[in-house]
């Protein structure tokens, strides 16, 4: 059994394994199994639909962290062309978690910024498990300010378990790096579209998450703290992560109902990792539509609307 299947994906995986086996048998022998295979295929789709139609919060959390989940660069290479990566915060180092650069989006120059997780163990370590340090946030801000100067729209892709909780990060003022981004992003005179593609956890996510539009993929999450962190503080036990995920309302549908996000982007049946190309195509279409709306506004109006949008959160 493939280790990259989540527990609730197992029945689907088992069925798919059976179909694969039948296909192999079918080519080896004279037997005509096409009808049988088609039946099982349909059954597999129905099963997937039924399982994915009622995921719990904790299951969505697992999807957002799925080992096969597409990461920022997977989308960047499919949605944008002519991507030139730029490096460095100009003070301390490059920052290996946040990637950014200038690219073209439907031929239009844009700034792309994303939090990148690693796939293999080596990459995971190199990408610090997706946990940005101050230099990551400062690099992102530098690139966003560059985009502002040349009137280039900004796309950010959020996918982080949180800002890095380490000694060196504190020494270089993690708090200030995050706060400065929130402060500056609120007034940047260029459109900003933020998309949560996987995990959106705490200030580390928000630090590239202040924009004119905040979008979420169907099986992504957004929360003030990871469910495990919340559980260990409020329940005094990380085992209560499931309850914490439910209580915090981490899923896109709950956040949309609260008016905190603008749009939920549907994923292919079974999740984005099942068909990265299709997911990228959907995402690209949504981004294009949202950008067009934002670019039809004057910059003054855009920035004022962004401010009012922030002020409206929790307004009495």
């Amino acid at each position: 059994m493939n280790m990259t299947h989540l527990d609730f994906e197992k029945p689907i995986a088992e069925l798919e394994a059976k179909i694969d086996e039948l296909r192999r048998v079918g080519t080896d022998t004279e037997l005509n199994l096409i009808e049988e295979i088609d039946k099982l295929d349909a059954k597999s789709r129905e099963l997937t639909k039924s399982i994915f139609s009622s995921l719990t919060s904790q299951q969505v959390v697992k999807m957002a962290r799925h080992p096969l989940r597409p990461y920022a660069l997977d989308y960047i290479e499919r949605i944008f062309t002519d991507f030139d990566e730029l490096h460095g915060d100009r003070h301390f180092s490059n920052g290996a978690v946040i990637v950014g650069g200038i690219a073209r989006f439907n031929n239009q120059p844009v700034m792309v910024i994303g939090q990148q997780k690693g796939r293999t163990t080596k990459e995971k370590v190199q990408r610090n498990f997706g946990m940005p340090r101050p230099e990551d946030f400062r690099k992102a801000l530098r690139l966003m300010q560059l985009a502002e100067r040349f009137q280039i729209p900004i796309f950010t892709f959020i996918d982080t378990p949180g800002a890095y909780p380490g000694i060196d990060a504190e020494e270089r003022n993690q708090s200030e790096a995050i706060a400065r981004n929130l402060f500056e992003m609120s007034t940047l005179r260029t459109p900003i579209i933020c998309t949560v593609i996987g995990e959106g956890s705490s200030g580390g996510a928000l630090a590239i998450g202040v924009g004119d539009r905040v979008l979420m993929l169907q099986y992504s999450i957004y929360a003030v703290i990871s469910p495990e962190g919340c559980a260990s503080i409020l329940w005094k036990s990380a085992d209560k992560a499931e309850e914490a995920a439910e209580a915090m309302g981490v899923t896109p549908d709950r956040l949309f109902k609260l008016g905190l996000i603008d749009e939920i982007i549907p994923e292919p049946l079974g999740g984005a990792h099942r068909d990265i190309d299709a997911m990228s195509e959907t995402l690209k279409t949504v981004l294009a539509r949202q950008l067009k709306q934002l670019q039809s506004m004057s910059i003054d109006k855009l920035v004022e609307q962004r401010y009012q949008r922030l002020m409206a959160i929790g307004k009495r």
Partner: protein, 296 residues
């Protein structure tokens, strides 16, 4: 017992009755040096231990009372109270936690905002109350904060915030997370209006408050030995699995690493902030306080 008894003023003797031990409210023990202190004297000293200089925590309301000029207070946004958007429940209902915090502190929320004067200069000042759910930032706290900032912008006066908070309030999840961007955006407007923002960091200031409004001051001041950082020391220790260096994330550590402008003793806070505001806003130098008696 008898010779000591004779030394005490008779009214104290009456107050202690025949009870054993240190009587509540009259004597107090320093949390750091364990010195036994006369409560009234400690309060005259703004709850700073006269023996070792340890700064005891204050309530948000007392903080503003000892900071602003006497009788100058006008509370802002006091009607803005907490909302349980998520119907959140952990081992307790959020609603019940709010009720307990309100009963314990006598406050409606974890931030108190006041317009007043400092050395006759009009200012808006606010203070977190750590006793109210760890001074956590809820939507009400964010709303009160931006109300204060907007008042400062309207009246063209400086803004001051005393922070003491564990971070964003988990029970309001993304709504409280986004108060970080809301408060930061309001401060960007204050900055664009060329009005000074003084951020004063108290023990402890961590998490979402540290990573937003608290570190955005034009001038950042900390009280001595306050714990200040993004991630709390316990979580860092669990992550890096090593002992943290001595004094890590304390005010003195932050000063050394360039994160704050200065460390100021509570008893000099009025004088220091007053002097700085006067210079930044081109006003004559205010007169230093003659003594540090509590004003309320």
């Amino acid at each position: 017992m008898s010779w000591f008894k004779k030394l005490l003023p008779s009214k104290i003797e009456t107050a202690t009755g025949g009870k054993k031990g240190v009587p509540e409210g009259i004597w107090s023990k320093c949390n750091k040096c364990s010195a036994t202190l006369y409560r009234a004297e400690l309060e005259r000293n703004l709850n700073v231990c006269p023996k070792c200089g340890f700064h005891e925590r204050l309530t948000g309301r007392t903080r503003l009372a000892i900071f602003l000029d006497e009788g100058s207070h006008e509370e802002l946004a006091s009607d803005v109270g907490p909302i349980d958007y998520l119907k959140f429940r952990d081992t307790k209902k959020y609603k019940d936690r709010i009720a307990a915090a309100q009963k314990k502190t006598g406050e409606k929320e974890a931030l108190i905002v006041m317009a007043g004067t400092l050395k006759q200069m009009p200012v808006v000042a606010c203070s977190f109350d750590f006793d109210f759910i760890g001074g956590s930032m809820s939507s009400a706290v964010g709303e009160r904060f931006v109300h204060g900032v907007h008042t400062a912008i309207e009246r063209k006066i400086p803004f001051i915030c005393f922070s003491s908070s564990g971070g964003a309030r988990m029970q309001e999840s993304v709504i409280s997370l986004m108060q970080m961007s809301k408060t930061s955006a309001a401060l960007a407007r204050l900055s664009a209006a060329k009005l000074p923002y003084f951020s004063i960091l108290l023990d402890p200031t961590t998490g979402g408050v540290s990573a937003s409004l608290a570190t955005l001051g034009d001038v950042i001041i900390a009280e001595p030995e306050a714990l200040i950082g993004f991630t709390g020391p316990r979580v860092i220790e669990q992550t890096v699995r090593e002992k943290l260096p001595e004094g890590f994330q304390r005010s003195e550590f932050l000063l050394e690493h360039g994160a704050i402008d200065m460390i100021v003793d509570r008893r000099q806070m009025r004088d220091t902030v007053g002097r700085l505001i006067a210079k930044l806003t081109h006003q004559p130098q205010p007169i230093d306080d003659q003594n540090n008696e509590i004003r309320q």
